[in-house]
Amino acid sequence: MKARVFVTLKPGVLDPQGKAIHHALEGLGFAGVNDVRAGKLIELDLADGTGDADVEAMCQKLLANTVIENYRIERL
């Protein structure tokens, strides 16, 4: 069983990395981008019996910093 955790910056939190990527895209001539936000993808290979509540707790305790980040869990 696998799960994917997407960690993204909350709206309104400045993302200098996203801004730099946006700037680089513009430098390559890609003019059709309004904004860029960079995040993280964390893939978990879960042991049998590891439930949604466990993954939720992992996100809350370590994988995301909920002061600045949101997370979304996708079970595969």
């Binding site: 939190v13 400045l14 994988l63």
Partner: protein, 222 residues
């Protein structure tokens, strides 16, 4: 004064911090590995050093903040023991929830490594009694993730309660309200990005950091 400096894998200012504490207090701190679950009896000051613990993986300070020793640090903080987190130590304190907010990538994306001017925000903490509020001091900074972020309510509360210990007096990293260091609600936990331990003797180019350690010694007693 008995003190302890916590050592995480990847700390690199732990010895500098220990030397500064020993020079001012006359007593070498215990170096406490992050796997320990207790601080030495009678520890009256805890230092969390700068560095790149766990290679800054996941988020700066995130993995260190979940080390076994951090439960002991949290208990000491709850008892009112002064806890000083410098640079990566500040990042660890926010990740551990001992200080509000978070430290993000510098707004300019550059690693900033130079001496900067700071304004002392509050002189009424265990750490800043050697300064006058509003005074300008100079300390070195060396960080990539020092851009302090918190929501507006938290920032208003920090300002209202006089918990902003130091502000940048010049543009450095994009920090909200120029915050360089904040203290906890009780005032006994200080997190700061600038390095006071790198400014304790004239050969360092300045001694403004020394006054922070002297104020601590005065507060805690020898």
């Amino acid at each position: 004064m008995k003190s302890a400096v916590i050592v995480f894998p990847g700390s690199n200012c732990d010895r500098d911090l220990a030397v500064a504490i020993e020079q001012v207090t006359g007593r070498a701190p215990a170096m406490v590995w992050h796997r320990e679950t207790e601080l030495p009896d009678g520890t009256a000051l805890v230092g969390l050093p700068g560095g790149f613990s766990y290679g800054d993986y996941l988020r700066t300070g995130a993995i260190s903040a979940r080390s076994p020793v951090m439960d002991a640090v949290a208990r000491a903080a709850a008892r009112g023991t002064p806890v000083l987190g410098v640079c990566n130590g500040f990042q660890v304190l926010t990740e551990a929830g001992l200080l509000p907010g978070a430290l993000m990538r510098n707004a300019g994306l550059n690693f900033v490594c130079r001496e900067v001017a700071l304004t002392v925000g509050s002189a009424a903490t265990a750490f800043t009694g050697g300064f006058e509020a509003g005074a300008t001091i100079r300390l070195p900074v060396a960080h990539h993730d020092g851009n302090y972020f918190a929501d507006d309510d938290t920032l208003d509360r920090l300002e209202g309660e006089g918990r902003i210990a130091f502000r940048y007096a010049e543009p450095v990293n994009g920090s909200a309200r120029d915050i360089a260091g904040i203290v906890s609600e009780r005032g006994n936990v200080l997190g700061m990005m600038p390095h006071p331990e790198r400014a304790v003797e004239p050969a360092h180019g300045g001694t403004d950091g020394r006054r922070l350690f002297e104020a601590l010694l005065e507060r805690v007693g020898a």
